[in-house]
């Protein structure tokens, strides 16, 4: 998990025309700005799942998932801390579907949960999260 090929590494930087550490720093800085574009962010978010999980597994282990969620959502989702707190007591692995749906969830319910239906098509984990927050 979280592996990439050496060839990928080299080719990638080459395409970005980065030769030195300073170039890389600059490039990374610019790429970070790209994250604010929602479409780009979605791409990267979806990619993260495959990248982060182990080769032979279908799901992503919880600890890794939490780490990446922390990384990706720290400034994008107001309730990210609650989400992580919720996950402490729950489930072991995160399925691909849950991962993907989580992003849609944060977009649709960025702050409150008004209009949320727990008999809708959201994954069970998210239903439980909403209940968790509402109980508090």
């Amino acid at each position: 998990m979280c592996e990439f090929k050496r060839s990928g590494w080299c080719d990638g930087w080459q395409k970005l025309q980065c030769e030195s550490l300073a170039d890389m720093k600059k490039a990374v800085g610019e790429m970070s700005k790209e994250l604010s574009d929602n479409v780009k962010f979605r791409e990267i978010y979806l990619f993260t799942f495959g990248f982060a999980k182990a080769e032979n597994q279908k799901s992503l282990d919880k600890a890794t998932a939490m780490a990446f969620w922390q990384l990706l959502f720290v400034d994008r989702y107001k309730k990210i801390d609650l989400w992580l707190e919720f996950l402490e007591d729950h489930k072991n692995a995160i399925s691909k579907d849950t991962w993907i749906q989580f992003l849609d969830f944060t977009v649709k319910y960025p702050d409150g949960f008004e209009g949320y239906e727990d008999d809708g098509a959201w994954p069970v984990l998210i239903d439980e999260f909403v209940e968790f927050v509402q109980d508090q």
Partner: protein, 725 residues
């Protein structure tokens, strides 16, 4: 000449009638007497002159009518028309007043001369002629001049009576009066009114007597229910059913009432059980009566407190009592009306599945129902008459139909059936078979196929045992052969759990074991036998007890046999030694020995004289005494029973998960693409016959199937799923 004759006749009649008019008696009843008397005379005369003037009728009159001249009639009709125009029209108001006065008197309880009114009616009817066709009679005159005022008067009379009565009397008494009045009006029509008046009259009465007072009557319904006043309920139903839309409110009240009664009955059972337990707990508290503290629920909600043991028989009987009581009520008081039947069913469904004993989520009703069934079908059942058993089974099925989680019942029933079959504790094969066929009828073949299979296996095993016995007789000496029998059962059909412990087959039993293995492999070389020593049992003869000459027979589980047979070589063993020699794991050894130790067959000693302690020893108690010669030590403990129940529930949960997933796949395969909510509705429908799945459980299974890639979400609409072939 015809015309002239006709005119003269007409004038004559007119004069005659006008004379009559002036001579009449004005007083009410006398007027009626006068009218009827004259009417009879007149009509008879009319018939006579009709014949007298036959020639005129046949020629001149007929010609005139054919030529379309109006107002020319045959003589009889002329007579009637004349009466109508010259007498009737003037007098009809007074006549009606007199009639209505009489009727009012009769309604007030006085006797009247009914024939007078009948004659008036006949007269009015006869006067209704079709202007254009003198042979046709209409009821125009009757309707306008008699019926209408009559009905108006009736309305006024009953309006006032009902209001006064209700203000001074109870609703039940009012209903009696209303019923009587309605019957009375019905009779009235038969006695002296025209039959065509029946419908409008009764309808008007119903409106005034019942419809206007609907709310007052409906409000009384609850208290009648509370006090089981069947006759009054019957009367109320009879009255209100005449007026449309008045029964809906009753049905709702009824449904709520039955549900409450059901809940109350269950609460009573629960209270009684709690009290019984409280009294029991005050007494013994054995060292191995482990009180299991319920694990706190996941979301931090408070634990519901230890579950009280409810006697299945009392519970089921309580449910049945309520059902039977109100079913009877529906049949007798509400004439089995389908709306009330459905209200009853809805209420019963509610209190059978959701009541104080069944905390939300736990399926207690089907479990208790199965346990009750078991107690009935076992040999120790107090009900021995087969027909009585049959009746009780039927009533069990009545409750069963209301149970939502039928799969829970099936699991428990099959487990208990397996035990009955294996332990030979069935009371009657016929009753067993009868119950299975009832279940098949209610739930279909699939539900009962495994149960059926169990019976077949038992039968086959009997044959197998006989064959084995025969062979042993042929090949071995009598002394060498143990009294032995075995049940060979199909793994798939039997809900039996193997022990998770190893076991060293005691020396004395090894030979028999090997012989049977050989015998069976010979017959069916492809099959593998899994021996369930956990469920096996045997008997040992104990001749070691001091002070006992005849010896005892111990009925033991095979594990217990394994333990005791050790004592043929020595009198005391340590815990460790027993573990090794029996090959059992500690839990299993512990539960096997607990009864033996409690009964003082073995005495615990050593540094740590506690059952299962590493440094405990177990000595054979040669001073063991018992009043009975045959002693059964093979009794499962309370904790074991409870553990088994929990196990069964777990199995049910797992089965349900699979069933839900299978249902989802089935639905998706057919529909290919489906919205989430619709999918869930479909799944619930598919599984309704077996159990009611929770939405959250269905969603969990959807998640599983998404992961397993049986289904996927649609790209553009995350609320839609599509089937992945």
């Amino acid at each position: 000449m015809g015309a002239d004759l006709y005119k003269r006749l007409k004038d004559y009649l007119k004069q005659h009638l006008q004379l009559l008019l002036t001579n009449r008696d004005a007083a009410n009843e006398m007027l009626l007497v006068f009218y009827t008397k004259e009417w009879v005379k007149y009509t008879r005369a009319g018939t006579y002159i009709h014949h007298v003037f036959k020639y005129l009728n046949r020629h001149w009159v007929k010609r005139e009518i054919d030529e379309g001249h109006k107002h020319i009639y045959d003589i009889n009709t002329l007579a009637l028309v004349s009466w109508r125009d010259h007498l009737f029209m003037t007098v009809q108001g007074e006549i009606m007043d007199a009639v209505l006065l009489l009727i009012e008197k009769q309604r007030n309880g006085e006797t009247i001369e009914q024939s007078l009114i009948k004659s008036v009616v006949d007269s009015f009817v006869a006067l209704g002629l079709d202007e254009n066709d003198s042979t046709k009679a209409t009821l125009e005159v009757y309707k306008q001049y008699f019926e209408q005022p009559f009905i108006d008067a009736t309305e006024a009379y009953y309006k006032s009576e009902s209001e006064t009565f209700l203000s001074e009397n109870s609703v039940t008494d009012y209903m009696k009066k209303a019923e009587k009045r309605l019957d009375e009006e019905d009779t009235r029509v038969q006695l002296y009114l025209h039959e065509s008046s029946k419908k409008p009259l009764i309808s008007k009465c119903e409106t005034v007597l019942i419809k206007s007072h609907t709310t007052v009557i409906q409000d009384e319904f609850q208290s009648l229910l509370n006090q089981d006043q069947v006759d009054d309920l019957k009367r109320m139903y009879g009255l209100l059913s005449r007026v449309p839309d008045t029964l809906d409110k009753l049905r709702t009240i009824f449904e709520t009432h039955v549900k409450k009664e059901g809940d109350k009955a269950v609460e009573k059972v629960l209270e009684a059980a709690k009290n019984a337990e409280a009294n029991e707990d005050g007494g013994e508290k054995g060292e191995d009566e482990e009180e299991e503290k319920p694990k706190p629920k996941k979301k931090g909600k408070p634990a519901p407190g230890a579950e009280v043991a409810v006697d299945p028989k009392i519970y089921v009987e309580a449910l049945l009592e309520v059902h039977q009581k109100y079913n009877e009520l529906v049949q007798t008081a509400f004439r089995g009306e389908s709306g009330f039947v459905s209200s009853l069913d809805k209420a019963c469904k509610e209190f059978v599945n959701r009541n104080k004993v069944c905390n939300v989520g736990s399926s207690k009703s089907p479990e208790l129902l199965a346990k009750f069934c078991d107690s009935l079908l076992r040999r120790s059942s107090k009900v021995s008459d087969e027909r009585e058993v049959e009746d009780v089974l039927n009533s069990i099925m009545t409750v069963f139909k209301y149970v939502e989680d039928k799969d829970v019942f099936q699991k428990f029933y099959s487990k208990m059936l397996a035990k009955r079959l294996v332990n030979q504790t069935s009371a009657s094969d016929d009753s067993e078979a009868s119950m299975i066929s009832k279940l098949k009828e209610a739930c279909g073949f699939e539900y009962t196929s495994k149960l059926q299979r169990m019976f077949t296996d038992i039968g086959l095993s009997k044959e197998l045992n006989n064959a084995f016995k025969d062979q042993m007789e042929k090949t071995h000496e009598k002394d060498d052969v143990l009294d032995f029998s075995v049940y060979v059962l199909n793994t798939a059909s039997w809900p039996l759990q193997a022990s998770n412990s190893g076991f060293n087959i005691p020396e004395d039993l090894v030979k028999t074991y090997e012989r049977f293995q050989g015998f069976y492999q010979n017959k069916h070389s492809g099959r593998k036998l899994n021996w369930h020593f956990l469920l096996s049992k045997g008997e040992l003869k104990a001749n070691y007890c001091k002070g006992n000459k005849t010896g005892y027979t111990y009925q033991l589980s095979t594990y217990q046999m394994g333990v005791l047979l050790q004592y043929n070589t020595a009198l005391s063993f340590t815990w460790q030694e027993l573990l090794t020699s029996t090959g059992l794991n500690p839990e299993t050894l512990n539960s096997a020995m607990s009864t033996l130790c409690k009964a003082k067959v073995l005495t615990i000693g050593g540094e740590e004289p506690k059952l299962g302690a590493a440094k405990s020893t177990y000595e054979l108690n040669v001073d063991f005494k018992s009043k009975k010669v045959r002693i059964n030590f093979n009794i499962p403990g309370k904790t074991e029973a409870k553990a088994e129940t929990e196990d069964t529930h777990k199995t049910i949960e797992e089965d349900r998960k699979l069933l839900i997933q299978a249902a989802i796949v089935r639905v998706m395969k057919t529909r290919k693409v489906l919205k989430a909510q619709i999918l869930m509705t479909e799944v619930i429908n598919q599984l309704a016959a077996r159990f009611k799945p929770k939405v959250s459980d269905i969603k969990k299974c959807i998640d599983i199937l998404l992961e397993k890639e049986y289904i996927e979400r649609k790209e553009d609409d995350k609320d839609m799923f599509s089937y992945l072939a």
